[in-house]
């Protein structure tokens, strides 16, 4: 099977790279072992929230030079300050260009609202989500928080309490629909996905509008749990029109509807541009000659190889088994590439879960242009993208999506320039 580029790993990074390549007429296949970590997305993408020394970041493009000084192996350090800024700006255009509306700016972090009602800095948020420009207060003094009766993955009470600390009053309203009552036959599976399938139905729109109208609302805005927009992105617009005031979403506990939507949307876009997406398959081995990957073999395709000029490895981190940790070592299972990690297991983690964890910074070693290293040698046509990379701490720094998207765009551009 011949392609210009084969991308191993079909999550945020792999799809970004693939779409960018397809947009320039490149023939691309993605092989993905399973679905991606986007299924747990908050609905926001982080670029840089906190420097390694703990200092908060308000303008990532200004602070990145400090980051580069503190973390020389960081993916942003490999890009360099100028490229970082350029690609951060391009990312925003890239996402809205393919039809994923986002709000935010790489020169000014805004604040997203967590499922607990607290504020956290971020770079880009899905446009339907509630955000604030300030870290101390919200844009509204009075909100109405709605929730589906019996939905246990959303906490209006916690959210209202946090909002109160910031000077915003909330009233809470529980609602149900006949279709939701049918779902309740399985109480342990009354989850965001089942609910979203009901709330997205055109046939339930009028009832939702009626429910909004029934409650006398003197609030400035309405908040719903993020159980809309899995298939149908029009329902919220209809609710806004009917309510005559803004209607926003706040994320729930997983599965993340916005995450699933983003994954499915990018997947469909990739296919629509002519890409081949092979889900549920794992690349098992590669033929490497003279520091070039000649072909790769997957479990499903057996002795029919993938032949490609370039390979991008975007297999993610521990969750997706892009990195595997045993008791004594951390390794990359497809090519056995060089992995940067502390030799002593006692240095891998801190006992306090909320402290900085070293294992989060382990990853595959690359050169300045994200070429993979194997036994110290550069593999000239194998690139490493996304969470798999060494040298950054996505949780403590708030840099996960930024690394995934920027490295993917950089690598796609590098391949296209060859």
């Amino acid at each position: 099977m011949k392609f210009d580029t084969v991308i191993i790993g079909g999550g945020l990074s792999g799809l970004t790279c693939g779409i960018r390549l397809l947009q320039q007429g490149h023939r691309c296949a993605i092989v993905s072992s399973g679905q991606s970590a986007l299924h747990f997305s908050s609905g926001s993408f982080d670029l840089l929230n906190v420097l390694p020394d703990g200092e908060a970041v308000t303008d990532p493009r200004r602070s990145v030079k400090d980051l580069i000084r503190m973390s020389p192996c960081h993916p942003y350090a490999k890009l360099g300050e100028n490229k970082f800024g350029e690609l951060a700006g391009e990312s925003e255009a890239f996402l809205t260009g393919i039809g994923l509306p986002v709000q935010g700016d790489s020169m000014e972090n805004h604040y997203r609202i967590t499922p607990m009602g607290t504020l956290k800095p971020t770079w880009l948020s899905a446009s339907d989500f509630a955000v604030s420009k300030s870290e101390r207060e919200l844009p509204w003094k009075k909100v109405s928080i709605f929730n589906i009766a019996g939905f246990l993955d959303f906490y209006p009470r916690f959210i209202a309490d946090e909002f109160a600390k910031m000077g915003t009053k909330s009233d809470i309203h529980l609602f149900s629909l006949p279709d939701l009552d049918y779902l309740r036959r399985n109480p342990s599976e009354l989850r965001s996905t089942n609910i979203a399938r009901i709330l997205d139905k055109e046939s339930n729109k009028d009832e939702l509008v009626r429910i909004l109208g029934k409650v006398a609302l003197d609030s400035e805005a309405i908040v719903f749990p993020a159980c809309f927009g899995l298939e149908n992105t029009n329902i919220l617009a209809a609710l806004r029109k009917a309510a005559g005031k803004p209607v926003y979403l706040i994320p729930t506990l997983p599965p993340s509807i916005i995450g699933i939507h983003t994954q499915q949307y990018m997947h469909d876009y990739f296919i629509h541009l002519g890409g081949v997406y092979m889900l549920g398959d794992t690349v098992k081995r590669a033929d490497v000659e003279d520091n070039r990957v000649m072909r790769v073999y997957s479990y499903n395709h057996g002795n029919i190889p993938f032949n490609a000029g370039n390979i991008v490895l975007a297999t993610g981190s521990y969750f997706s088994q892009g990195l595997i940790a045993t008791r004594s070592r951390v390794y990359e299972p497809v090519f056995d590439l060089d992995v940067s990690y502390n030799p002593g297991r006692e240095d891998w983690y801190n006992r306090n879960m909320f402290d900085r964890q070293n294992y989060q910074e382990f990853g595959v070693k690359t050169n300045e242009t994200f070429n993979a290293l194997c036994k110290g040698k550069v593999i000239e046509n194998l690139y490493v993208s996304g969470a798999l990379l060494e040298g950054f701490n996505p949780v403590k720094e708030g840099s996960g999506a930024g690394v995934s998207i920027l490295s993917a765009l950089f690598i796609a551009d590098k391949i296209l320039s060859k």
Partner: protein, 404 residues
Amino acid sequence: MNLQQHNISDNNFEQCIKCTICTVYCPVAAVNPAYPGPKQAGPDGERLRLKKSNFYDEALKYCINCKRCEVACPSNVKIGDIIQSARIKYSKKKPKLRDYILANTDIVGSLATPFAPIVNLALGLKPMKSVLDVALKIDHHRTFPKYSFGTFESWYKKQADKQKKFKEQVSYFHGCYANYNNPQLGKDLVKVFNALGIGVQLLRKEKCCGVALISNGLIGQAKKQAEVNMASIRESVLEKNIPVVATSSTCTFTIRDEYPHLLDIDTSDVRDNVELATRYIYRLLSITDVKLKFGKEKIKVAYHTPCHMEKLGWSYYSIELLKLIPNIELKVLDSQCCGIAGTYGFKKENYKTSQDIGASLFGQIEASDTDYVVTDCETCKWQIEMSTTKRCEHPISILAKALG
């Protein structure tokens, strides 16, 4: 031995991190709240069942064995296998008469084909469907596929000598559908392989692959039939060095993977030489100079990916072969379950679930401007023809038609 260093759990169930992604993609969980979902039915339930077998939930019968949970799982857990294995091991429900009739395709097929015109007429009558609905709980909306007046095997007997003359040979596992319902599919396969300069022969003795027997709890019968098939396959692959090809995606998947995973029948010595005909042909065309000469006739098709094809990962081959036809307009439908799941959708208690699962696919099909829907699975074909206005054909039949 440090136990933590080795993953010793069956079907990787210990790798499950309870992320619930499988349940997001389960076609049944999306429409039927009576089904607990693959996470709970599979790895989560398994933890409990290993403690005490009476934690088994009979609601696992709603699982359609589509394996889309496995395709979605980021942790390589064989969720579908865990669920099916649990059904086999723990279920206390005995198969009913209806289940015997639906699952024993060889018996019913052999009895029906000599009387096909009468049988087909009878099965098509509304009163007959009502009787089957009330007496056996076979839903009256369902239409049985028509039986052929004469099996594929009996047609083949007359071709056998001619086929022997080809230098290259493949063995054809025809399956119940081609044999009892649609010998034309088998004839089309022979035509396509002959056009490639390859002769087609049958296995010494072929029985139904057993997928319906497995899902209806007739495990002993399934194992017996599997042993017969494996003996025939081994004779072809190991003794005669002749690979085995099949047209049915489900038969292929069942023989290669369900035999070892669910029936404890080892296939590792021959698995790589049992494959779908479209895969065999794709490989042949990509590594040799052999070409197929197609006519210039225009044709519009929409390709549907059966669930087992999605699991095998082989729809690429069928699609690429269709693309070789010069004036074909090919649209690939979104990969989703059609809902019939073999004998599952014929049962009255599953009819609503079946149709709810397939609704979005039917909508896509009706909205597309095509001459045919094309798919490799015969039960998908029945479902699409029962639930939409379009006709559905196998890729091999489309290729055969285009060869002129």
